[in-house]
Each structure stands twice: as structure tokens, then as C-alpha cells.
């Protein structure tokens, strides 16, 4: 099975065939359209503060408003408890979500691939040690780990949060990559490379890595969703980066200032955005699963 995946990736027809399946998949289409909309939101987040400094998501305050007021022409989604514009906060939140999700996912995929290849290639004690470590980290509830760390190290900034999420989210990927590496190791072309005198590093980077990378990227979408959710939950509980306007942070403000029963225009948008962006990455991931291999479908759902 693993062999088939990597070969399908190499065949020329794969991209066209993959795109054909993808186009037929309803989930994939919905997911992609939603993601494009969110990307547009993130890009346009730079516009409102240029129009007027009062639209700055963090520091901009409408001089005539000092409390939460419903939607108006001036503020399409209303203002928060300090008179800041909710729409510009929502746009800035899209930028933060992409930033957090993609960078944390990228880092954890990088770590997971490196560790998985290394464990699979080295074998023996190293393999056992790394995989037991993976087992251990896998069962830790990441949100609570970040909570404990923030209680010890004080307010964490957004990049530290991203780093911690990545450090605790590699085991799933590394297991799959390790399995793939183990099967690759037995194949003739690796033997041939060894006989030809290639070093271990060369074998890992030139011969194994190109074969496992596609699989690693499949996991990326699922890692993006879990990173976005963890950051949002952390911010919601009041442990986010105070210098960042994320959707979780906006929900925290609604909740903590007691506006949740009074200001639906403020409570609804950030929650809908977090839910929809996770949904769209999730749907994209499932559609990609189907393109790659239907049998893989079960793996991603564990998260």
C-alpha cells in the first residue's frame, strides 16, 4: 500500500487524476472555496487601519463610542467594549489564524518527518526510544500542557505558543513516516545506493525524503486545524498573547466583559470563523485523503 502511494505521486498522470477526483469531491470543493474566502479576509485585514486609525484592531478606538454598540454604517459589525471596530478585529483574526495554523503545522510536520525518518532508518534502540517518546507525548492533552507552561513561564507570546504546539504535535506524523521509511529501507534502490557508497545522510535526504514528503504533507491540513483550535482555546481561557487580536481573544473579551447575552453581533462572528476555518481545512484534508488512498481515511480522525 505504501509503495503504491509513492509511486502514484511520481507518475505524471497523478496530478491530473488527483485533480479530477478532487473536483468531484463535494467536501474538497466546499473546503477550498471557504479557505479562499478566509485568505481574502486575511489579505484585506491591512485595509481598514489605512482608511482611518480608529479601525486599527488593537489600538484603534472610535472617539465617539466608548462601549459596545451594535452594527452601523460606520462599524459594520459594531464595536467591542472599548469602542474598537469588530470587523477589523475579525479580519486581523483571519491573519493570525493562518499564521498560527500554517507555521505550527509546518514545524510539527518538519519535526515529525525528521524524527520518523531517523527512527525508521536507525532502527534498534534509537527507534524504540523515539517511538516510546512519541507515545508519551501523544497522550498528553496539548492545551493543558500549554496552560501549565504558561503558569510557570508567565504570559507566552504567540510564537512561543506556536512552538509549543509544534513540539507536542509531531508524534502522529512521525509514526506514519517511520512506517514508510521502514518499508523503503528494504527496497532495492536503497541497497543499490548503499553499495554505490552513499553516506547515511545522503540516503536519508536524497532517497528516502522525496518518497515520504508527500505523505507528510497530507498530515499538514489536520495539524493546521489542531493548532488553530489550541491557540483559540488558549486565548479564550485568557492565556493568549495579549498583543495579538485572534478570534479566540475576541471571544474571551465577549465572555469576560459579560457581553455574551447582550451583544450577539460580537459573540457570533469570531465563533463562526473559528468553526468554519477548522471545518474547511478538515474537509480539504479528507478530500486529499481520498485522492491519495481511501484506506488512509481513518488515521486523520484521531485528532
Amino acid at each position: 500500500m505504501e509503495r503504491r502511494i509513492s509511486e502514484r505521486f511520481r507518475s505524471v498522470g497523478f496530478l491530473r487524476e488527483g485533480w479530477a477526483i478532487f473536483r468531484e469531491s463535494l467536501l474538497g470543493k466546499i473546503g477550498l472555496i471557504l479557505l479562499i474566502l478566509f485568505a481574502l479576509m486575511a489579505v484585506s485585514s491591512f485595509i481598514p487601519p489605512r482608511i482611518d486609525p480608529m479601525y486599527h484592531p488593537m489600538t484603534g478606538v472610535d472617539p465617539e463610542i466608548s462601549s459596545s454598540v451594535g452594527p452601523s454604517l460606520r462599524h459594520w459589525l459594531g464595536t467591542d467594549f472599548m469602542g474598537r471596530d469588530i470587523l477589523s478585529q475579525l479580519l486581523a483574526g483571519a491573519r493570525v489564524a493562518f499564521m498560527v495554523g500554517v507555521s505550527a503545522a509546518f514545524m510539527s510536520i518538519f519535526l515529525g518527518t525528521a524524527i520518523g525518518m531517523f527512527a525508521g532508518y536507525a532502527g534498534r534502540a534509537m527507534d524504540t526510544l523515539l517511538m516510546r517518546l512519541a507515545d508519551m507525548i501523544m497522550v498528553m492533552p496539548t492545551l493543558l500542557v500549554v496552560l501549565i507552561l504558561s503558569s510557570l513561564f508567565g504570559q507566552l507570546n504567540i510564537w512561543t505558543i506556536v512552538l509549543i504546539i509544534a513540539l507536542f504535535r509531531w508524534p502522529g506524523v512521525s509514526r506514519v513516516i517511520r512506517a514508510q521509511t521502514l518499508s523503503l529501507k528494504q527496497r532495492p534502490f536503497i541497497e543499490a545506493a548503499k553499495v554505490a557508497g552513499a553516506s547515511h545522510l545522503r540516503i536519508i535526504f536524497r532517497h528516502i525524503m522525496p518518497n515520504v514528503l508527500p505523505l507528510a504533507f497530507l498530515y499538514m491540513t489536520f495539524r493546521v486545524t489542531s493548532a488553530i483550535i489550541i491557540e483559540a482555546a488558549l486565548a479564550f481561557l485568557g492565556f493568549g498573547d495579549p498583543g495579538t487580536v485572534s478570534w479566540g481573544m475576541m471571544l474571551q473579551w465577549v465572555w469576560k466583559t459579560g457581553h455574551m447575552f447582550r451583544a450577539p453581533y460580537w459573540l457570533l462572528p469570531p465563533g463562526i470563523c473559528i468553526s468554519l476555518i477548522t471545518l474547511s481545512f478538515y474537509m480539504l484534508g479528507r478530500a486529499m485523503d481520498e485522492v491519495l488512498d481511501p484506506r488512509l481515511r481513518r488515521e486523520g480522525e484521531a485528532e
Binding site: L26, L27, R132, D135, M136, M138, V139, M140, P141, T142, L143, L144, L147, I148, L149, S150, S151, L152, F153, G154, T225, I229, I230, A232, A233, F236, L237, G238, F239, L251, V254, W255, M260, F261, P264, L267, P270, G271, I274, S275, T278, L279, Y282, M283, R286, R297, R298, E301, A302, E303
Partner: protein, 325 residues
């Protein structure tokens, strides 16, 4: 016999992993910036009391002695006193644990049962409207941001409609009333539990539905289903008696795999609904710098996750006779 050996081996592993976590936590508490003593000793204590506690914990002695004392205290169940409550941490945890177990296990069992049932139906109607509707519905409820869902449920059902209390686990007027019997009290807790339970249920059942659906589709391709059809059995019998029980096995595994995810969700739910459980206590103690309580809650949760994973694996072996360890 083999199963017993397997369980013993896993228990040994759990003990080792737990010691690693314990040690990492010990080191983190001493590596973090600031005075480690202030994390163990309540800042509100009188100087004599704090002197005594420092001596008791060995905080003025070499690190390895501190470690030995730390492990000994942990093994004997002495977690120190909570800064905020001023009570032994063990009492607080003993008090909160049943509440968490009640909410958490009810929600997991309920969502697994409903997920399996609906997943079975979705797979049976593969490609039809029912299936599309269920799959998208499951994906959507599974990816809703949990704390937000909780706030929306509170807003609609507790605030607007006033069907349920907004937060908490019990109403004081019922529990202080000397005439209120057990039934009244149980009903009161149930009324408080419905919304948090609904939140956790909505988040979880979708995942089980999707797993059951794809597992059922795989199972239906098996030879024994073909045999059953060839025997002329009714479709309903094939679905419910031959396919579903086998297809439900991966759901059991996924409960174990997604436990860490569920526990995050449990802590968020407890916090939003101020349900007096371990998860809420952890969030609360972290925001109030109540280090002894935070540490104990975290270790307890880690232990529960490790043991539950073992229970799920043993349950799996029991349910599927083909699995032998």
C-alpha cells in the same frame, strides 16, 4: 494468561512514563524564571509556618534530596496545601474527581453509542441524501469551536428560554432544603448537567459517526457478509448482527486515541459552565498561580489518560477475539 502478561507489561510502561512526566514537571518547576520556593510555599503564610514547610519539603537542601522528597510525597498522596483554598490538595481533588468522571464518561459513552448508530445508517445509505447530510452534519458539529458552542447553548437554552440553569452543578436551595430527598437532588444535578453534556456530545458524536461509517463500508466488503447474503439472510440481520458489531471495533480504538483531545474539551466545558471538576480546577489554579493544585491536577489527568488507554486496549482485546497479545 497472555492478556494478563500484556496488562502487566503495559502497567510497567505506564509507571515508567509517569515517572518521566513527574521528573519533567519537577525540573520545569525549578527551571522556570523566579523563585522556586515561592511556587511551593504559600506567600500568605506566617514566617514560622513557611520555615517549617521549607524544611519539610527540603527546599533548602540539595536538588536530589528535594527530588526524593517530591517523589515520596507524591507516592504517599501528599500534594501539599492549595494556596487559594488553604485546604490539602488531596481533599479538593477527591471532591472534584467524581464530578468530572460523571460528566466525562456519560458524554463519551452517549456520543459513542449515538455515533455508532448513526454511522451504521449513513453507511447503509451510502451516496444518498441521508449519507451526505449526515457526513456534512458530523463534520460540522465535530469542528465547531467548543467554548463558543457552550456559550451559544447557554445563551439560547439557559438565558433566552430559561429551561436550564446558566452555570454550576447544584442549586443551593434544593441542597440546603432538609425535605429534599435523593430523587430531588439527583434531578437537580441532571438539570445542571444537560447543557454541558449536550456540548460534549455534539462535539464528539460526529467523529465516531465518521469512523463507524468508513469502517462499516470496509466491513461490508468482507467475505462473511457475502456468505450471509448467499444464505439468504435478511438485509437488516446482515447489517445489525453481522456487520455492525465488527465495524464498531475501530470506534473503541479511536476513543482511546482521541482521549487527549476529549480531555482538552472537557476542561473547556467545565470552565464555561463552572462545573466543579478537575479540568476547571486546573484552569482556575493556573490563572491564580496556585501551583500545588495545578501540579496535582495535571499529574492526575496524565495518570487518568495513561490508564484509560490501557483500559481501552484491554476492552478491545475482550471485544475482538482475533486480537491476541
Amino acid at each position: 494468561m497472555e492478556l494478563r502478561r500484556y496488562v502487566i507489561r503495559r502497567l510497567v510502561q505506564i509507571v515508567i512514563i509517569f515517572f518521566v512526566i513527574l521528573t519533567v514537571l519537577f525540573m520545569l518547576f525549578r527551571l522556570a524564571p523566579g523563585d522556586p520556593v515561592s511556587r511551593m510555599v504559600d506567600p500568605d503564610m506566617t514566617p514560622e509556618d513557611s520555615e517549617r514547610l521549607i524544611a519539610e519539603l527540603g527546599l533548602n537542601r540539595p536538588l536530589w534530596i528535594q527530588y526524593v522528597v517530591y517523589v515520596k510525597n507524591f507516592v504517599t498522596g501528599n500534594f501539599g496545601h492549595s494556596f487559594h483554598y488553604g485546604e490539602p490538595v488531596v481533599h479538593i481533588i477527591g471532591n472534584r474527581l467524581p464530578n468530572t468522571i460523571l460528566l466525562f464518561t456519560t458524554s463519551i459513552i452517549l456520543s459513542a453509542l449515538v455515533g455508532v448508530f448513526l454511522g451504521k445508517i449513513a453507511s447503509w445509505h451510502k451516496g444518498e441524501k441521508t449519507d451526505t447530510f449526515m457526513t456534512i452534519g458530523a463534520l460540522a458539529t465535530h469542528t465547531v469551536f467548543l467554548p463558543w458552542l457552550a456559550l451559544i447553548l447557554i445563551w439560547v437554552f439557559a438565558y433566552k428560554l430559561a429551561w436550564f440553569p446558566i452555570t454550576g452543578m447544584i442549586s443551593e436551595e434544593v441542597w440546603l432544603d432538609p425535605d429534599a430527598g435523593f430523587v430531588m437532588k439527583a434531578l437537580d444535578v441532571m438539570q445542571h448537567m444537560i447543557l454541558p453534556l449536550a456540548t460534549l456530545f455534539l462535539i464528539h458524536f460526529g467523529a465516531y459517526l465518521l469512523i463507524m461509517r468508513s469502517s462499516m463500508l470496509e466491513t461490508l466488503k468482507e467475505d462473511y457478509i457475502l456468505t450471509a447474503r448467499a444464505k439468504g439472510l435478511e438485509e437488516k440481520v446482515i447489517r445489525d448482527r453481522h456487520a455492525a458489531p465488527n465495524a464498531a471495533l475501530p470506534v473503541v480504538t479511536s476513543i482511546g486515541l482521541s482521549l487527549a483531545f476529549s480531555i482538552n474539551g472537557g476542561a473547556l466545558t467545565e470552565t464555561v459552565f463552572t462545573w466543579p471538576g478537575i479540568g476547571r480546577e486546573l484552569v482556575f489554579s493556573v490563572s491564580h498561580n496556585d501551583y500545588p493544585l495545578a501540579q496535582a491536577c495535571f499529574l492526575l489527568i496524565a495518570l487518568v489518560v495513561l490508564i484509560s488507554n490501557l483500559v481501552v486496549d484491554v476492552l478491545y482485546a475482550y471485544l475482538d477475539p482475533r486480537i491476541r497479545y
